[in-house]
Symmetry: C3
Subunit: 329 residues, 3 copies
Amino acid sequence: MNSKTSKAKEFMTQQLHPDGSLRHLITLEGLPRLLIERLLDRAQSYVRPLGEKPPASRALAGRTVANLFTEPSTRTRVSFELAAKRLGAAVVNLEVQLSSRIKGESMLDTIYTLQSLHVDVMVIRDAETGVHAAVAAHVAPHVSILSAGEAHVAHPTQGLLDALTVRQHKGRFDNLAIAIVGDVRHSRVARSAYHVFNVLGVTDLRIVAPPALMPELDEFGGCTRHTTLDSGLKGADVVMMLRIQKERMAQAELPDADRYFATYGLTPQRLAAARPDAIVMHPQPMNRGIEIASDVADGPRSAIRDQVRNGVAVRMAVLAEVMAPRGVP
Amino acid sequence: MNSKTSKAKEFMTQQLHPDGSLRHLITLEGLPRLLIERLLDRAQSYVRPLGEKPPASRALAGRTVANLFTEPSTRTRVSFELAAKRLGAAVVNLEVQLSSRIKGESMLDTIYTLQSLHVDVMVIRDAETGVHAAVAAHVAPHVSILSAGEAHVAHPTQGLLDALTVRQHKGRFDNLAIAIVGDVRHSRVARSAYHVFNVLGVTDLRIVAPPALMPELDEFGGCTRHTTLDSGLKGADVVMMLRIQKERMAQAELPDADRYFATYGLTPQRLAAARPDAIVMHPQPMNRGIEIASDVADGPRSAIRDQVRNGVAVRMAVLAEVMAPRGVP
Amino acid sequence: MNSKTSKAKEFMTQQLHPDGSLRHLITLEGLPRLLIERLLDRAQSYVRPLGEKPPASRALAGRTVANLFTEPSTRTRVSFELAAKRLGAAVVNLEVQLSSRIKGESMLDTIYTLQSLHVDVMVIRDAETGVHAAVAAHVAPHVSILSAGEAHVAHPTQGLLDALTVRQHKGRFDNLAIAIVGDVRHSRVARSAYHVFNVLGVTDLRIVAPPALMPELDEFGGCTRHTTLDSGLKGADVVMMLRIQKERMAQAELPDADRYFATYGLTPQRLAAARPDAIVMHPQPMNRGIEIASDVADGPRSAIRDQVRNGVAVRMAVLAEVMAPRGVP
């Protein structure tokens, strides 16, 4: 067991109550398969067709959820906010940067303050690695920390919603080929997808990236690596596109949007390499015409809007789980 | 029928369900009189005297309203937020600029995301013409788009609250002289007032502005045009003042606040030209001492605070109408 | 009776209904002892141990509370927001600077607008002296103004939570020595503490500050003044530390954090001058290592987290009191 695995074990232990139920959700790495499947089942029970009212519940009545985001206007913040409100919780939004010290106030003083205000769940997005684990190590036993994104490392609710989307469309995780395409090196979405699909038994997992945006070799173990779309998408059941940042294109020696699109952009033509019933996913926001053509994003094989709908269902499931744990069956 | 009228018809069609009930509210132009009167009746039923609790209802229980404003701290945002909450809806506030592309994300991706999060009503303020109609053309059948201000073009809930205020004070729309005073050329408030009073049968509608701030001649058809307050206010029942922007004063060759006030500012003396029971309105925020004297704004003939109170009632009525349409009677 | 006292009387009158019950809370100066004790009793009834759900009530159902803060992300804003929500009120947050004129809009127009939107309670933080009293003098009879901080002058809910914290730990206010330490001159926390402890009968009240940060001699009457920690803390039951601003250290001729800490920082060694069962308080945010050592802030004699928990209880009590007054018993 190398040090990475030990660290995963340590995180896992920290995330679970002694009875195995979920306390925090900081990473999907090393979570028990039964727990992940229970979360997906619960999330599925919260999914409603477009146009129907979402389920309303009082599971979190009397509970308080605080959203701690560095910027307030993200879709993930809104998704968590609506998930909490639909379970009957009170929600407060704070714009904070836990990783830096504002007005001399340390991260932990902010956390202790929220805890003393009877905040039960803190949903945290932070650009610095380790903030979530540090917070989780200090809060009182009844408080749960949920990650809404941690640097390039983890975005666990995104991983769960991706898994739920695949399950809805494919009905299985074995005998599936899933390709993760783009700036894998810097992507928390890719890492959480990697972990959840590993736990769920996906064996044909591929990463497709320009050489400069490939992750180090000690990560993404078991994945095949491809530097061309044609090779990576061949026979794939699921194509997960990632967002590319402008500054990364230069790093990949594809210094403008056109050049990037010509090489790694997903077009209907390129998608033809995948299976005829392959689905296309993207965590959003999309760079249309850069990593994905609008024809594909809005086309019949796109599951992108399902991902958004599943996102709020997954966040409801996680909130309900940490506030009313029932133990691993 | 000229092209403007056709365009109005087209918008109208787009705004209504096939049974004639309200789906979106983007412009008042061309809305049926019966529908507008029903909205005013419903709004009136939500009006309470100052000091009494506003009505509480569960008409929007389980529904979600998203406020999409470019700046968060406007009175209109708060008015819509309270209207939605008093009907039992969940409300999320987003600070977004739909007309520009933020982080490469297009307007429609933001809209589709909110739709997939089971947002039922999107309240949008935008400085660019056409954003509301473009969004309305793309959302799913169960989603309603409400304008909270569109460039210089339309501010329909303001038009409705202005009409409700006039109805409360005057009890009629026929045989009324209404003067709209100030920067009519650039005012969405003036345009929505023009449309609603036209539909409601006001025949003596006047616009009063410095020549440079007069609208083009193909707009405000049927209004008389006045370049002096004395002429425009003569015998008026209702005086609607508009907010003047500093840069517009220069354009009007009245390059400072004192000069503007001396020529177009509403003082008690100038108001004497109107009928003795004339009311004064202003959409706020007011430039006291520039377009209106404090004596008038706070005086016995001011209906300005009634407008604010009516604003939340009108927004409740519109929300209730689009979420529970009953068809045109 | 000097002019200061008259002013206090005037404020007091303005704050109370004719039957003696609380209408506004702008300053604690001159409030009747019975009223303060009733607020503390009510607040105590809202206190719950960490890990238990806070009390839920419908005392403010149908009521609307507006938070008017110049910056949105303060702990006091969140504390008021949660207090209001736990009593069943609708809450809107506005980022406004009442003391300056934004877009030409005056403070009172903002206030009248909120009032017309049926806002029942306005919670205001402002850096300018007198804003709260000016607003309170103009609002309709059913509207209450609560200060969440006024310049260097007053922070009444902080004073109440400080008093509640002392009462919980010491069980009495007579025969208590309380030392207020730090930049007393510029501190609204110190002033509100001074007023509340005076009303509650504390006779041994001490201020400890560098000479340059001592208040003028016509303030803090009855307090002993100390320029060293050793002298001020001797035999104290309660040590209230204040936050120091960087620019004030220079003014105090202690031009860096280390120098300030060496002279006025509270360490376990310095705390030994106080009574063995002395408690330590701080309004937060703390400058750890500048005005207080982490050993003390997180140590067994720290009541700092109790203060936060008491803060939301006190704000619930004040909101319930102004919305449902019962008259002085």
